[in-house]
Amino acid sequence: MAMDWGVFCKEITSGDQVASCWGSGADVTYLNWLLKAWGWTLSVAALALIVALVVGALVGILRTTPNRKLALFGEVWTELFRNIPLLVQIFLWYHVLPTMFKSLQAIPSFVLVVFALGLFTSARISEQVKAGILSLPKGQRHAGLAVGLTLPQTYRYVLLPMAFRIVIPPLTSESMNIVKNSSVAFAVSIAELTSFYLQAGEETSRNIEMLLAVTVTYFISAFAVNRVMAAVEKRVRVPGMIGGR
């Protein structure tokens, strides 16, 4: 079973070999297509990560506030988005919501998937943020309130600067997970890496080469995220704490 990497230099409609491996104009090689699919994967993951961080941080904060109703809302949110499989959530956004609300039918599926993946991950991030805030000594909150800061100010200037630094390591693994989980978007035909494999593998019958290329691409993406987060962690670390040096 010999590998044939030349397949990546083929034009996708005619099947002709392109000498430079790089198509021009309307001619697109499998290599071009792979890179484009990588772009979709990274776009879905990056935008979903923004949604997940914003919503997850907010919900995590709500769960630690003294207001019972807000805290309950945060708990329900987390349980709801954590206990339904991602694939089912993607179907809910893609098939169910547009059926229930006609106005949503105009929204491109890319946006729906970003929200599905983002809110799914927000539940996990809210869990980390909550744990981060609760890991701080209670005195920090009391001290903030005692010097006359309002509750939002106490969060902004006292609790969150520490809590966010504490949760960076778990957020690193969530960021890597979001790259991996973006693969589930294949189910609603987003043109990302997994869809690329399913289509290009079928067209060329070179499944092993295609899947190997896709796997390596995911690997590189997750590793890159890991390095970026490690750099962030190094930049914001707190002197005097373990790992702070």
């Binding site: 089912v88 809910l92 189910a187």
Partner: protein
């Protein structure tokens, strides 16, 4: 809103959904048991201190953990027929994939569990004349297993949710059952909604159980 659930009678559910639910549960249980057994072996290899055992186990676990599950499912679906020389079917392929994939995640949990047992326990085992296998089997692993039970079960809830990804190779699971019922009656939105509800109820109840268990175990310690 124009949802209509009236077509979802018990007859429809029993002819489409139950088969899928049973497969999802079987897949979860087999992958859990197999994954914990293989995962424990991998954890013991990684903690053995012998490079010939540590390196392959670490490579296996780290590779599995850095590839999306969907891709792993597709790899096994592609490779198993090539290795066996004949097609195996999506369901069996899923069973093998999930067992080997989850083993990587369970092994990290078991490794943490084994490391959470005080070193003195190992020394005590050797001091009373037990060998490595006896010390592990009779002293360390039972404690590691008990300490990590809530985490192992939480991982199993994630595993149950992940079984829906066999969608990629067309195996007949809980989600597929609902999907086929929805296609037959031209009511896909309703069936996806009910499917979400079923997953939510199962996973939320299990996580409540894990939380109670966590409290009980905390008292024992």
């Amino acid at each position: 809103m124009n949802l209509d659930f009236t077509f979802l009678t018990w007859g429809v559910i029993s002819s489409f959904v139950v088969k899928g639910l049973l497969f999802s549960i079987q897949l979860t249980l087999v992958a859990m048991v197999g994954g914990i057994v293989i995962g424990t072996l991998l954890a013991l290899m990684r903690l053995s201190g012998m490079p010939a055992l540590v390196l392959p186990a670490a490579a296996y676990v780290n590779t599995m953990r850095s590839i999306p599950l969907v891709i792993v499912i597709l790899w096994f679906f592609l490779l198993i027929p090539l290795l066996l020389g004949r097609p195996l079917g999506a369901e069996w392929s899923a069973v093998i994939t999930f067992t080997l994939f989850e083993a990587a995640y369970y092994s990290e949990i078991m490794r943490a569990g084994i490391q959470s047992v005080p070193k003195g326990q190992v020394h005590a085992g050797y001091a009373v004349g037990m060998n490595y296998a006896q010390t592990m089997q009779l002293i360390i692993l039972p404690q590691a297993f008990r300490n990590m039970l809530p985490v192992l079960l939480t991982q199993t809830i994630i595993l149950f949710q992940d079984t829906s990804l066999v969608y990629a190779i067309g195996a007949y699971d809980l989600l597929k059952g609902f999907e086929i019922a929805g296609k037959n009656f031209n009511r896909p939105a309703e069936t996806y909604l009910v499917a979400a509800g079923v997953y939510l109820v199962i996973c939320f109840s299990l996580s409540l159980l894990v939380r109670r268990l966590n409290k009980r175990i905390a008292i024992i310690r």
